[in-house]
Amino acid sequence: MLEAINLYKSYPAAGQKGKGTNAVNGVDLVLEDRMTYALVGESGSGKSTLSKMLTGLLPPTSGDVLLDGKSIFSLGRKESRLRFTQMQMVLQDSKSALDPRFTVYDSIAEPIRNLLNVPKQRERQMVAELMNKMELPDSLMNRRPNELSGGQQKRVCIARAISVSPQLVIFDEAMSGLDVIVRKSILELLKRLQEESGFTYLFITHDIDVALYIADHILVMKEGKLVERVCYTGSIECFKHPYSRMLLDSLLPEYLGQNA
């Protein structure tokens, strides 16, 4: 379970000492195991800053993040690295998230080598299983990122993230930029993986349709604050906040018709 307590992050304004912009403004959040959450909001609402703080990649100005009751900002150097066995992140741009000089095998094997102490043979077996799970053909194993399609790059990034069997996987705008067919097939695959392995997902997205499709809890963020938390059961009527309604209004009418 991941818990965010009163998180604040402010960035200093250029040239104005003491003044700053609050990117995240007092966020409290609990992510229960085996659930799928979506954090939606427009660009600049503080979603990515929040996701970086949740993974401990960015220290908050104030507040804390607890992973199974332990603050992730007070861990020692080794423990701090090992927290990534429990939480992983899939970044937005898969092409630039893969080292251009690494093969698919090396990219997927990297967290296994760094975080799990397994023999070489087991590592090979794990990578082959992950590629199989992600529906990536074995022939891609020695390819480099520039030889893969956008969908394949995304699958490699997801395979890398789930290679250490983390409790929580955060997708930071990871579904944007994919064509709708590839996006749907990846979302389906993620649903299946969750049923098999019991991951908790947090989707950071500005596409509310992705949130409605996959999440069972939707958190709406505006100007650094969570303005609405909805346990989504298939009807958009549960969204009450005017900002949430505005985001929903951006959907195509036929989509709304299906969900109303």
């Binding site: 992140m89 970044l91 630039s96 990034c157």
Partner: protein, 273 residues
């Protein structure tokens, strides 16, 4: 990559010039018709002929032999210098880029202080303190150029550190050392090699420049810069004695510069893909 180098005329010309100079340096003892330091004043300013293909200088030394041995000085001093500079630049540049803002600021300030001193002043000071000698010239060049290398490599590293795959490596559990060795250095290597290959030309010019000013090498050494200096006295009577070593310096530095710049043209579009 190798194919692209061979298809680029500028790179091929650069490589041919470098190969010629390297061959001259390696095979100097076999190719040189005479001992480059053997003085024979009875044959001073001899015309080019069968015995002395490029004639002799003001002390009757074989000009061709001196030019061939001169390549040994230029290559033999500039390549080890570049090797040391590369190691210093890579270590300090990557450390600076990966450390916190305060440490990075200190690195930049120290580099800026060293860059602000003209290299000639540093060389004069180092040779003044340590005395003449090939290794002292190398030390002088390293002291005057390390900050340039560090700054340049730091700028490559900073740009690379902002890329998502570095963040992904952190999430994959890499330590800072692993990030530098596995991800950062291999990814800046191509830009770094371009910088080094053009840096060889500057080092050769510095070696020749210092010996032209009598800084570093002992009198009479068959070094192109020193040969230029000695030939100054006979500028009007035997201008060819200035032209030969000058042309050698030009060919060598042009070779490395042409190759380095062609390499950049080849690598940069590749990086952008």
């Amino acid at each position: 990559m190798f194919k692209k180098v061979l298809c680029n005329p500028q790179a091929v010309i650069g490589l041919v010039l470098i190969a010629v100079v390297l061959a001259a340096a390696v095979m100097a003892p076999m190719l040189a018709p005479h001992d480059p330091e053997a003085v024979d004043v009875t044959r001073k300013f001899a015309e080019p002929g069968k015995e002395y293909p490029l004639g002799t200088d003001q002390l009757g030394r074989c000009e061709l032999s001196r030019l061939l041995y001169g390549a040994r000085y230029s290559i033999g001093m500039s390549l080890p210098t570049l090797l040391v500079l590369s190691v210093i630049g890579l270590v300090l540049g990557c450390l600076s880029a990966c450390s916190g803002k305060a440490v990075d600021r200190i690195f930049i300030t120290v580099c800026d202080i060293f860059i602000s001193f003209p290299s000639l002043i540093i060389a004069a000071a180092v040779i003044g303190v340590l005395g003449n000698g090939m290794q002292n010239i190398v030390i002088a060049i390293i002291i005057s150029m390390w900050a340039w290398f560090t700054r340049m490599i730091r700028s490559y590293a900073v740009a690379e550190m902002g890329r998502d795959y570095i963040l992904a490596a952190r999430i994959s559990g890499c330590s800072t050392f692993q990030i530098i060795v596995r991800h950062l250095i291999p990814n800046i290597m191509s830009q770094f090699l371009v910088y080094v290959s053009t840096g060889v030309a500057s080092a050769i010019l510095m070696v020749s420049g210092f010996s032209f000013l009598n800084l570093g090498l002992s009198a009479g050494a068959a070094e192109w810069g020193a040969m230029l200096n000695e030939a100054r006295s006979s500028l009007y009577s035997h201008p060819e004695l200035l032209i030969y070593p000058g042309a050698c310096i030009l060919i060598t530095s042009a070779g490395f510069n042409l190759f380095g710049e062609a390499l950049r043209d080849i690598i940069e579009p590749e990086e952008g893909q």
